[in-house]
């Protein structure tokens, strides 16, 4: 499979849901797909085109760009040794994406992580809990507006670990 045929394949599968291609050199095709059709597109690629493995699924925060959030799916066709990438733009004020997990088991923890780190809600996920951070944690750490040094819990304020004691509060 070469770049041309991979692009044609994505065009054929996505149809009207295709929102445009991105030129990246490392995969055969890199396409934006509309949010409502994403699960159908990914499942068609798996069932009919042989992209059997969901290698990776992750969120991206592109602040200060206008369209901040994005979910990236990396698919692998093991027979033809071909990789394609599918992306979805996620509006910041309504960060909801249909979940892939009920139809594709391997998406489970990847979606939970993207929810934990970016606050992207995967609608229909059977068990959407935080994965890496603890339950009750406030905020989504990989968002660009989350401070690098973290946030203090209420009971840590004014304690010996308070950074303000050392005068390096930003």
């Amino acid at each position: 499979m070469d770049r041309e045929s991979a692009k044609k394949l994505v065009e054929e599968v996505a149809g009207e849901a295709l929102e445009g291609f991105l030129e990246t050199g490392d995969v055969l095709a890199d396409a934006f797909v509309s949010r409502d059709k994403i699960v159908d597109v990914l499942l068609t690629l798996r069932e009919e085109k042989g992209f059997k493995m969901l290698v990776d699924l992750f969120g991206v925060d592109r602040r200060p760009d206008e369209e901040r959030l994005e979910v990236v799916y990396l698919l692998l066709n093991l027979k033809e040794k071909a990789r394609i990438r599918i992306r979805v733009k996620v509006p910041f004020d309504d960060p909801v994406v249909p979940s892939l997990t009920p139809r594709w088991k391997g998406a489970d923890w990847f979606e939970r992580e993207a929810y934990d780190m970016f606050g992207i809600v995967f609608k229909g996920h059977p068990d959407l809990r935080r994965l890496l951070m603890w339950e009750g944690f406030d905020g989504h750490p990989l968002r660009k507006d989350f401070p690098l040094k973290g946030k203090l819990l209420p009971d840590q304020r004014y304690s010996r670990n308070d950074p303000r004691r050392h005068g390096w509060e930003a």
Binding site: G25, V55, D56, W104, K105, G106, D108, W109
Partner: protein
């Protein structure tokens, strides 16, 4: 503190970990039992979450390499390499042949030491102590070789963007050759103890089998996928760093159970030793890092005596390597499977987003599926055979 409770149906909920002798690293599993049979296992991760992806957004590219050491700390050289390959893809530079071969040699040594740890701790959990000492002796020898070469035993920080940090010392080659020979001997001796051992077979054969189709749906890669009988190895499928120069086989199992994973790992160690021997034999002469002052640090003597070198040194250290805007994903066949780095660059010296795709993550999410219906004593056998490393699982 109460660590177990019983509900009205007589089912028992036990908490294993995160600090427990049989849980390697900080892993925690909440198991629901009916007698001794596992009904449900819910792994909880994140106890070693250090936010490497977040930290990387605030670091220069070359300053991220030491952080990658701390992902899979059992085979950190391959993490270095995967990250460097991703940056090199964005920079579009060709690494010198000698550096590629050196990367292969050290990656394969790292793979051997990773498999040694995995097999050794797996069998020690099953009650076999002697193989553990034999395997760890070889691992110790490999670590001494690493220490001699880069001065560190566990977190090596050896690879650089565009090559490797230094040429190995003169007596490295003879010792590496001897260690490759030693690998065959240790693997043969240990399999003589284990492979036909009735107790070992009873504990491992038929425990948590999985079909290749299901393994692919879960996103399994590496030895756990190959144990199911599916032949997939990035070193053959998408050769990087001159892996297509070497002659080696991909071992596969047939049922995907704990025993097959053990067999695949043992055979992979032999194949790694084969690759090391070929790479040492054919190691080309030449530079070990690219000749590009915007990517590679200049020689230290020049920094002290030449103004241009001093400027280049200053620019790389202060501003970082300037990577063109774009995105790139590079993956290597790490000891546990496909380890990938996805970099989103905005054209500055720091990545806008660094995504790490750890192989354990996809494998460990199927832990409930792999354990259901098995006995609680199988939990440690399965966990050890998957080789979950908390450092790369939680990042």
């Amino acid at each position: 503190m109460q660590f177990w409770e019983k509900d009205e149906d007589g089912r028992m909920i036990i908490n294993v970990g995160p600090s427990h002798p049989a849980m390697h690293g900080t892993l925690r599993v909440i198991v629901e039992l009916d007698g001794e049979v596992i009904l449900r296992a819910d792994p909880e991760i994140g106890y070693l979450h250090r936010g490497v992806e977040k930290l990387a957004e605030h670091l220069n590219y070359q300053a991220i390499i030491p952080y990658t050491d701390r992902l899979n700390y059992v085979s950190s050289l391959m993490n270095n390499m995967a990250f460097c390959l991703a940056v090199e893809k964005l920079l579009e530079i060709e690494v010198p042949k000698r550096a590629q071969y050196l990367r292969v040699i050290f990656s394969e040594f790292a793979r051997i030491s990773d498999h040694l740890v995995c097999v050794g701790t797996n069998v020690v959990d099953l009650g076999a102590l002697t193989p553990f000492w034999w395997l760890y002796k070889l691992r110790e020898d490999i670590y001494e070789l690493f220490e001699m070469t880069f001065g560190a035993r566990l977190t090596h920080n050896y690879m650089r963007i565009g090559g490797v940090s230094a040429d190995p010392p003169r007596d490295f080659y003879a010792r590496a050759k001897a260690l490759a020979e030693e690998t065959y001997r240790v693997v043969d001796e240990t399999s003589a103890l284990l492979t036909d051992n009735r107790i070992f077979l009873k504990r491992t054969v038929g425990v948590s089998p999985i079909s290749p189709e299901e393994a692919i749906e879960w996103g399994f890669t590496g030895p756990v996928l190959r144990a199911t009988g599916y032949e997939w190895d990035l070193r053959k499928a998408e050769p990087y760093s001159s892996y297509d120069d070497f002659d080696f086989d991909i071992p596969v199992g047939n049922s995907g159970d704990v025993f097959d994973r053990y067999m695949v790992r043992m055979e992979e160690m032999r194949q790694s030793a084969r690759i090391i021997q070929q790479a040492l034999e054919g190691l080309p002469e030449g530079p070990w890092i690219v000749d590009d002052p915007t990517v590679a640090l200049p020689v230290k003597d020049d920094v002290y005596t030449k103004i241009e070198s001093l400027i280049h040194h200053f620019k790389i250290v202060m501003d970082g390597i300037q990577v063109p805007a774009g995105e790139a994903y590079a993956a290597v066949e790490a000891a546990n499977g496909e380890l990938g780095f996805h970099i989103i660059s905005d054209g500055t010296g720091k990545p806008r987003r660094l995504r790490i795709r750890p192989p354990c993550f996809a494998i460990y999410q199927a832990f409930n599926r792999l354990l259901q219906g098995h006995l609680v004593s199988d939990l440690v056998a399965v966990l050890g055979s998957l080789n979950i490393v908390a450092g790369e699982l939680d990042r």
